[in-house]
Symmetry: C2
Subunit: 173 residues, 2 copies
DNA sequence: CACTGATTTCACAAAGTTGTGAAGTTAAGA
DNA sequence: TCTTAACTTCACAACTTTGTGAAATCAGTG
């Protein structure tokens, strides 16, 4: 019993397609719980494991076993939030969808926008309950925290960039 | 025309109930878009604007115009993720639900758990596509970033605590 | 220990979301 | 300009989620 009957790694391809499919669904599930639409999450995951992070709608449709219509809707969303680009080389029939390498920024910028919305809504609330009431004071603290967060997000990414650069060009050659 | 006919600020109460209700819905909407369940978001918002951040199920039910059953479900969730506490003073009939003042921690800890899940799922993915394939390299970078994030989150809160302390006890008395 | 008010659970109805097939639109190549 | 492959849009059906009323459970109080 040294072979794996169901989850077989094909030496030619170098990847265990069964496990890849499982991973796609597992990553998609996590992203869904984080608030991403189901199909968009699956498309995202499929692109992430594709070797050149670039697939056509037809390939996505086949790999995920869904209709082209579903792909169309999913990529529209991913495009809007800036996580993928649609590419068509001159003289080509089909679009390719590419994952942004720095999609972290894109997805986090979206969250940043939400925090700002939260903050702005809360400022309205302070006025409504009265700035000096206990609730008003509490809401003011909330705004302080949200302002802090908004200011902090760019710093986090700076730090990540630094760290990445250090890894790619270590101090000692 | 110096009075506001619909959105009236009652001097006795010191708050514009109409505007408060609007704020509750607006905050709830934002939180929903951030991934919180609708009713839980409304309960959270209602507690945030209540003067002592403490309401009974009946009060919540009335203020939000929903059944006690709906409140029951919403507070169960909020309790699970640690954003509220259920309190009943000895010799009382009804529970009070209180907003954690440092609910930021709770809500962010939940997100932290998600990031870890994402990270762990991705490690599985690396094995599936082969660590040396282009996809494998890309997924490794993803893991690096997620590890960075997980490490960063506690530091952010440390910084917030410092800032808050400075505000409350400024260097010059 | 029975009574009563409060909360939770459960089955179901209403509302919302998601993916499909089919029809419509766009653009490359003859 | 016509043909055709590829993508998008739309109405609808399947599925999921959410909130309700009614019944059950729980906890104080006489």
């Amino acid at each position: 019993m040294s072979s794996r009957p169901q989850s077989q790694r094909d030496p030619a391809k170098g990847r265990d397609e069964e496990a890849v499919r499982k991973y796609i669904e597992s990553l998609a599930l996590t992203l869904t719980q984080l608030g991403m639409q189901r199909m968009s999450a699956r498309v995202f995951a499929a692109l992430a494991v594709s070797d050149d992070s670039r697939l056509t709608a037809a390939e996505l449709s086949e790999q995920l076993s869904v209709s082209p219509a579903a792909i169309s809707g999913a990529v529209r969303y991913l495009d809007q939030v800036g996580m993928i680009v649609k590419e068509r080389l001159p003289g080509e029939r089909r679009d390719h969808y590419r994952l942004y390498d720095d999609f972290w920024f894109a997805s986090t910028l979206k969250r940043d926008r939400m925090v700002r919305m939260w903050r702005d809504a809360t400022v309205e609330g302070i006025d409504a309950v009265g700035p000096d009431s206990p609730a008003g004071v509490r809401l003011s603290h909330m705004v302080d925290f949200l302002d802090f967060l908004v200011a902090e997000i760019p710093r986090i990414f700076e730090r990540w960039e630094q760290l990445r650069e250090q890894r790619e060009h270590p101090p000692e050659g």
